[in-house]
Symmetry: C2
Subunit: 619 residues, 2 copies
């Protein structure tokens, strides 16, 4: 368990806004954290001199950069560059308002994101060298970039394009700067061609988005199956494959790379974008997916005490990453909170802004592991609950993934059962959201008890419409089950049923997640009535009926309109991190701010779990 | 021409030592500059907290790191980390004496170098993870390194060795840290195997040295011909090859890489060192040689106004550099001062310490271009003089490189001529040092006039021993010449002679260098009597007879014992930069401190040049 860090308070005037951040954060990032944008042209690298603030109260140093930017009088008056002020104690500062309206977009869950990517294309019109100006080609470019606020070093690849490129193009070129690195020089003015990619590597599906970094406009979105599927359906079988099969790790890495490169080819082809104009990529995914993508051995994630190789964010070049993009591009992964609360959840936090908001919110991403975050700007805590594969249909008799033929929603009326089937065909199985609906409806109608047992046949015949009563059967093995689709209603040649055993599986899954939520709520000392919102995330979470989730006790008892499906929040977070270096810095800070609580071995989790196998008695 | 920077004064107590440095230098580097070592474990990266100084007078900021390391009282008393203090104005500080005696070595020209390489091998005995300590493998290592003062990020390659390596070796491993990067994890305790390479890439010869970074001990030295020779003997023909031949740049790059890798193989084989234990490399050479090695197009160096692609120091990985060493190793080149005053000269400045010493000194590295530096700690200036190929034997009738059969030294007695031949065989030609000796002796004896003409035959017969007089001949074309070896004394079937035309070639070469020296001396406002020492550097400079050089006016008229051959100073400088991060930082600062003066197009150079074609009238 991570213990809470002692935080310090930073107040911004004239906004009268206050935030509490862990010591060590920059004042610039602290402002971004509460959505208060401070001007910056260099990406908070201390070179452009724009992110000025005036310290009104509290102790800060004066850095060498401050001395360059400010006069002695200004320093005396408390002026500092906010990106160079490392907050160590309580501070009050004055932050000048942004000049003009910065480009912004609504992204994620109603988040207002200032578009400020880390890739800058700068068009340069340089003077040709002479005997009295013998600066090297690189120095000439670096000096011109310094005037624009960039303090760069160059990659060898960029240098190798020189000197012909400069001389053939009359010293008019576009410099591509990523962060503080000059990665390419392009002939003429190419500022219009500036792209990036955001990927969410799911265990089953990979979603990729191509974005115009200049305008912050999504150019295309595509999904593809993760080609690792042939080595196992879930995280644990893939880890096992990597551990046991010689060359298994490499196979898995190649499979996910093939999927990513297939998406890159499709996105760029269809939108007529050159691979050489893709400069930055942000990738999220669970820890195992990112380990496999990076060629890192995930073995220790799979076994007690569940240890990743690295939880930090990483940066690699396009070449190192083996993605089919500019070899000097930068490929970022967001950090993980723990082995089972990964960068996908960090993406979700960016998309929802949960740890930056006032009022306690709950974010649940349901999969084999339920990833759970609870908190507010005051304090945010997270955990992973071992839900097992029920929600993905794997341990359910007629379970299946959410694809054509899956029952995805169910309503039980007084007379009968109404099914919603993906693809509008006859049903061939039931997926997670259908499972939750069915059980919630059965329980709500009284066909299931709070302990999860089907009622007796006699009681059904007495209290329910014959159609419904007839659906309560015993199968050939004597196991009780509920018929969702009779053989004549089914796309198979047999009925589709939900068995007593399936219900037990669901109870274990929901019990794990509900217990995880309860442990966190106890830790924060709150009850359901304190919850402002509940976010259901993930491609699965997006389809869960909030009413059903609440009826089963999967989420706390809050009014239904407070339960929101937020879609692929992870992928949305990746896009936000791609389009805004401010938000990416926030993502880097999340592991220091959000406390991770490990549930394995906790007795309070096990106690809750047994209690929470039951469905809530009242609604 | 670079103009002199306004410098600031830094005084160190209790040493009572003062230095003047350009603003922007760290206090730590300023101390290194005058050979005053301040403690550091992290390589002046601000992480170990050891480089403490107390500011007694002058303004400095307080950085975030200072706040972490020092108490409020200490800060109040002026304590700061010297590596974080960027000098912007005059300062007086107190620097605590080093604890114990740091490992040091005498290197270069009597320089006392503290051995402190940038590669650190740290043996770690880690605790195994548990449910209450779920730090990732990387975090566990990074935390342990932080305790030793290292704040690292990891390469993917290092991470890919985990987690098996840790678990198979009982959590006892050696971390390899270069600068702030964790580049490798090795099983068990491998601190004893820690090597680096220093290369001087000459146009003709490449010299490589293998050093034990732990002990600072040279393990082996080898030289090889630069395989680029097949594409041209000198810098200009190689540039032309790169410009004109399709794929020419690649051919040249591959040739020098082949030479380097051949040296690496020989050095490691013979000394039983693993390629994977070579962690750092420092390379010097002239700007063209380093451009070709790095695959950078040198075209613009070869034509007016003589512009390199980059003059800054560079860092590449072993993999990027294509050297056969650890792929994650770091390969450094030192910076250039200009297109024709390259990293080799910067190496020479490290080896001699010229710009750090009191008293004006002159360093001359003689080749196709004479590289000339003049100055002291007060002010140092540099230039390149176009000497042409005479000293390398290329435009001399019987000229040859300094190899077996070359006349390398000559004494003319009253009766005859005494030759010293390389390899103790019959002579087959004359190399640069022999050429200088011959002309100096001829002039000194009176067989040549101050204008460089042979005396008339009649005068020779009258005033000189018959043996000497007989050596003054006219060849078949009527050109006057001096016979150094008669056909019967020669290794060829004909005499070896020095012609009147050869003497003119030498005069042009020496005139260029002497004029370059004169321009610099005028710039500093000094005369020969102000010179404390004259250093002759380069494999050629090493063999020049100081008396002869002075007699011809190649160097100023100072007493002979002040003229010192300093051998391969460039290579020595590379070794120093490899073994001491303090000295490497100094090398990085040299371009900001040493002013480069371009001679092309200067009328004072051309005026001097015509005057200095003559030999000095008196001695």
């Amino acid at each position: 368990m991570t213990t809470a860090t002692t935080k310090v308070t930073v107040a911004f005037q004239p906004y009268n806004k206050t935030t509490r951040v862990p010591p060590g954060m920059s004042l610039f990032d602290a402002a971004s954290w509460i959505g208060l944008p401070i001007d910056s042209a260099c990406g908070a690298k201390g070179t452009c001199g724009k992110c000025r603030v005036r310290i009104l109260e509290g102790q800060t140093g004066i850095t060498a950069v401050d001395r360059k930017v400010f006069s002695a009088e200004e320093l005396e008056n408390g002026w500092r560059l906010s990106c160079r002020v490392i907050v160590q104690n309580d501070l009050v500062c004055e932050a000048p308002k942004l000049m003009g309206n910065p480009k912004a977009a609504l992204m994620g869950v109603e988040r207002h994101i200032i578009l400020d990517p880390n890739v800058h294309k700068v068009y340069l019109q340089l003077a040709a060298p002479t005997l009295v100006d013998q600066r090297s080609d690189y120095r000439r470019i670096a000096d011109a970039l310094a005037e624009e606020g960039f303090d760069v070093t160059a990659t060898l690849a960029a240098l190798r394009q020189l000197p012909q490129l400069l001389r053939k193009n009359g010293w008019q070129v576009t410099a591509v700067v990523i962060g503080q690195e000059l990665v390419a020089i392009e002939p003429g003015d190419t500022r219009g061609q500036c792209y990036g990619l955001a990927f969410d590597i799911g265990t089953t599906t990979i979603v990729g988005a191509l974005l115009d970094l200049d305008g912050g406009i999504p150019v295309g979105v595509q999904a593809a199956l993760n080609q690792q599927a042939i080595y196992g359906a879930d995280v644990l079988t893939r880890i096992t494959h990597a551990m046991i099969e010689p060359g298994g790790l490499k196979q898995l890495r190649n499979a996910v790379l093939a999927s990513l490169n297939q998406l890159i080819a499709a996105l760029t082809d269809q939108n007529n974008v050159s691979l050489a104009n893709i400069y930055e990529v942000v990738i999220v995914g669970n820890a195992t997916m990112l380990h496999l993508y990076q060629g890192l051995d995930p073995s220790a994630i799979g076994v007690h005490p569940f240890i990743p190789v690295i939880e930090s964010a990483t940066i690699a070049t396009g070449a190192e990453s083996l993605l089919d993009i500019l070899p000097e591009a930068r490929v970022h992964t967001l950090p993980h909170l723990g082995a089972y609360v990964g960068a996908d959840l960090v993406g979700g936090l960016l998309a929802t802004g949960l740890p930056q908001k006032d009022g306690v919110r709950l974010l649940v991403d349901i999969g084999t592991n339920g990833e759970i975050v609870l908190g507010s700007a005051e304090r945010t805590i997270a955990t992973a609950a071992p839900a097992g594969p029920a929600f993905e249909g794997a341990s359910i008799q007629d379970g299946m993934r959410a694809s054509a033929g899956a029952i995805e929603a169910v309503v039980i009326t007084d007379q009968t059962v109404r099914l919603q089937v993906i693809g509008d065909t006859k049903p061939i199985g039931i997926c997670g959201s259908g499972l939750i609906d069915t059980v919630a409806q059965l329980y709500h109608k009284g066909l299931l008890t709070a302990s999860g047992r089907f009622i007796e046949k006699e009681q059904a015949n007495r209290d329910f419409h014959p159609d419904l009563a007839a659906r309560l059967i015993r199968d050939e093995r004597g196991v009780r089950a509920f018929v969702l689709a009779r053989a004549d209603e089914s796309g198979l040649d047999r009925p589709i049923v939900l068995s007593q055993k399936d219900i037990r599986e669901l109870q274990f899954a929901k019990g794990a997640i509900a217990s995880g939520i309860e442990v966190l709520m106890r830790e924060l000392g709150i009850t359901a009535r304190d919850l402002v919102e509940v976010y259901l995330a993930g491609s699965f979470g997006n389809y869960i009926n909030p009413w059903s989730a609440r009826r089963l006790g999967l989420v706390p008892l809050v009014s239904v309109e407070r339960i929101k499906a937020v879609g692929n929040a992870a992928g949305e977070g990746a896009k936000i991190a791609l389009l805004s270096f401010r938000e990416r810095n926030i993502a880097y800070r999340i592991p220091a701010i959000v406390e991770y609580h490990e549930l394995s071995g906790r007795t309070d989790f096990n106690d809750s779990f047994v209690d929470l196998l039951r469905f809530p008695d009242f609604l």
